[in-house]
Symmetry: C2
Subunit: 329 residues, 2 copies
Amino acid sequence: MGDVARLAGVSPTTVSFVLNDVAGSGIPENTRRRVRASARELRYRPNATARLLRTDRSHTIGFVTDEIASTPFAGDVIKGAQEAAWEAGKLLTIVNTGDNQGIEESAVGMMLERRVEGIIHAAMYHRAVEPPADSREVPAVLLNCYAEDGSWPSVVPDEVAGGRTATEALLSRGHERVGFINLRPGLPAAAGRLQGYKRALEARGLPFDDSLVWNGEGTAKSGYRLAAELMRAQDPPTAIFCGNDQTAMGVYEALKERGLRIPEDVAVVGFDNQELIAVQLRPALSTVALPHHEMGRWAVEYLIDRAAHGETAPRRHTIACPYVGRESV
Amino acid sequence: MGDVARLAGVSPTTVSFVLNDVAGSGIPENTRRRVRASARELRYRPNATARLLRTDRSHTIGFVTDEIASTPFAGDVIKGAQEAAWEAGKLLTIVNTGDNQGIEESAVGMMLERRVEGIIHAAMYHRAVEPPADSREVPAVLLNCYAEDGSWPSVVPDEVAGGRTATEALLSRGHERVGFINLRPGLPAAAGRLQGYKRALEARGLPFDDSLVWNGEGTAKSGYRLAAELMRAQDPPTAIFCGNDQTAMGVYEALKERGLRIPEDVAVVGFDNQELIAVQLRPALSTVALPHHEMGRWAVEYLIDRAAHGETAPRRHTIACPYVGRESV
DNA sequence: ACCCCTTACTAAAACCTCTTACTAAAACCT
DNA sequence: AGGTTTTAGTAAGAGGTTTTAGTAAGGGGT
């Protein structure tokens, strides 16, 4: 900066004022032009580090995730977060912990040393977690996960509403016996979606028949097996709600083997909106999307807002899972 | 740091020496313990910013990508890069540009202001790019893309070898007529794989028959259409090499509709190893994996190495695409 | 014509936190 | 006493921001 000041024939103060557009510094347009020209000529680039040291604003947000690659979701979350950060003039620093607590703790440590303005702890599937206590030193938020004791703010998908949406997509087409191949029991996603399924039935005055509900493993294989199971019954469903799109992929196989047409004979709806699968399947799969992008966005917006306005009570924010209608319903 | 020094009854110098384990500073174990205890008591966390200002080592690498979410690959690349960075004690700062040049330039600017030690420019599909000139201010490398004029170091998949590997997987099973549903012509991936396909044939003394080679669009739909086309011929192939796994998904459909078994009647091999598809397909798809993880890793290792040992001639490094055998061959 | 006070600019200096020469004091030998 | 080691402290930056202080020009009053 000194060089620029010298070249422009002013003091570093003036350079700082001009380059940062400080209000009320009353520097005449003339001088401003000279300073800016000098900066350009010297290809001057301010040193964000030095600025941070003085201002204590790193304009950086830490993003700690358990698994970045195992699902395509991770990309959506990061993209949403990154977009929101960019819009606010922030940068995102990312660490993938591989679900290793030691790495997670040192990652948080490194981020705090760099004075990040907030930390996001993201999980790649919806579950309970316990982030390092150190993260409380700055605004922090859990993404696609939550603390059992509610002591951390978090943002998660509205699984209940999602399950209800999926089921209603089928009910509204006149189906009254809807099979449900859920995920492994115990997962928040499985519990929530089942509840949503029940509520949808209830709202239409339809009975809940637990012979229509199975827990699979979220794979095409188990979808194939359980669809076969469902269709073997004497009063088989006319529609199947699958706990995820991979399951639906297996269900398609099973139905096709039986010569059943989708959606004419059996309608199918998936969950997750894994485009790679849902779009490519024939017929294209109607499904419910997880709001990964929105959660990423919400998390950084929350952090920025909280950094600006201080502490608020931790809360669990849920985001709706929109229905994506294609050809299978 | 001053607080710690005061509490331990020493000077800031001593604290710095102890906390950084400076060699040859000759501080007795006694004092060291006292300093460390004070630091712990005050929950002292060094300010990485101040250190950086003095040492000029940010221990941060910038990662600029055109699209983070549109393919599951992005996650692998980032994961590989992040792992390598972590092992070297570096952090990764990521920006998604949405292929917008303006954003890319300001992203580079922001990173340079933060004094990153290197910049990676990643593309989500293999292609030629032209990164902002400013990136040359620090070590920089292109990932899954390259500069037309070769003026930037880069790391890309070895498409030729990959195409050859895929073809040979089929030839080695005795197939002599291998159909090839390639990607859109013009893509480096399509050109390279076609070359590899030809070389594999050549190596076995088999003729190249261009009626066996079609360009699709990399979708299940076009795979379906072109497989039908291929099988309609009077001398249809006994094996099909697909430019990607989505194409293979459509090929499966077409073959199954004709009552052809995989791999008994027609063997199929894909490309990309999109696990979501390849593993879930029945039979599971044999395919060739793109080395995303390795490219990510290579890129940061190259950067760190170059930062340490100075400029070297830009080179294009290729990484092999390993064959992933499953059930379709 | 002189003085004083604004206003409009610009500069000096303190500060942010840590690293690292360089220096100094103490302790330990001959 | 004089010279080495050990051990520890001082102070100068690193590159900005921001507070405080100043100078010069212009304007009004007498």
